[in-house]
Amino acid sequence: MSDFLFYVLATMLVLLSLMAVSLPNLLHGAVSLIGSFLVTAALYIMLQLEFVALAQVMLYIGGIIIFMLIIILLTTGLGEDDSLNRISLGQRFKRALIPMGLLVSLLLFIGKTPSPLLQSATHRAAPVTLDDIGFRLLSIDNGFIIAFEVISILLLVALVGAVVIARKDKDEGEEA
């Protein structure tokens, strides 16, 4: 049952991601990316990582994709700007060869290499609880407190930098 569910979810994820990168209208691409993130959250729940699934839905779907939709709607009229400068089908096929080669060679490598990491008996982890994650994030010894604080500073700097970059210059503002 769990195998069947995984195959269904994986197929949906691959199809939605393909749609996200290849649909000519960017708005449709962003909406299918929302679908692919939801399917990814379902995969996390299958892996018993509920907190990651929660963060996926809140951060990616509620934050990042909304950002992206705002950019698309601000800059291209309903996402249709891209249709003028599409890449021809032959070029598209030629460029598809590069990721296909990457995929096939890496799959062959993983299949051929007798790695103990893949072969050893897989014992499933106990589900990670929210308490574990919270204590581990903020504990001093063997924890992630430094990375946590650095990330908070990075978020602040990125916000200030974004405001500075996007600010209108004074003379430019009077023209517009």
Binding site: S17, V21, L26, M46, V52, I71, I87, L159
Partner: protein, 101 residues
């Protein structure tokens, strides 16, 4: 459902993202493709945390950091795209040549 299945899935997602980066000409389309690649990387972290179980809590924490950095990236990208659009009125990467060496 084993570790190899999840590694294959994240490899496929990475290849799809690279394909998107190579074929899109719009700046925003390239950003969408980068998100697909990051999604595949996060799935890999989660799968190793679940199946290998050496330190599952660390495996659950790392995708959170990836998401936070990705949010920063999107904020700065939004600012760059808006200021570029204000100057150029187009986002075709073939025409954005200011940073040419």
């Amino acid at each position: 459902m084993s570790l190899s299945h999840f590694i294959t899935l994240s490899l496929i997602l990475c290849a799809i993202g690279v394909y998107g980066i190579l074929t899109r000409r719009n700046l925003i389309g390239i950003l969408l493709s980068v998100e697909v690649i990051l999604n595949g990387a996060n799935i890999n972290f989660a799968a190793f945390a679940h199946f290998k179980a050496a330190d599952p809590t660390a495996g659950a924490i790392f995708p959170i950091f990836v998401m936070a950095v990705s949010a920063c990236e999107m904020a700065v990208a939004l600012a760059i795209i808006i200021s570029m659009y204000r100057q150029k009125k187009r986002l075709d990467v073939y025409r954005l040549e200011e940073l040419n060496g």
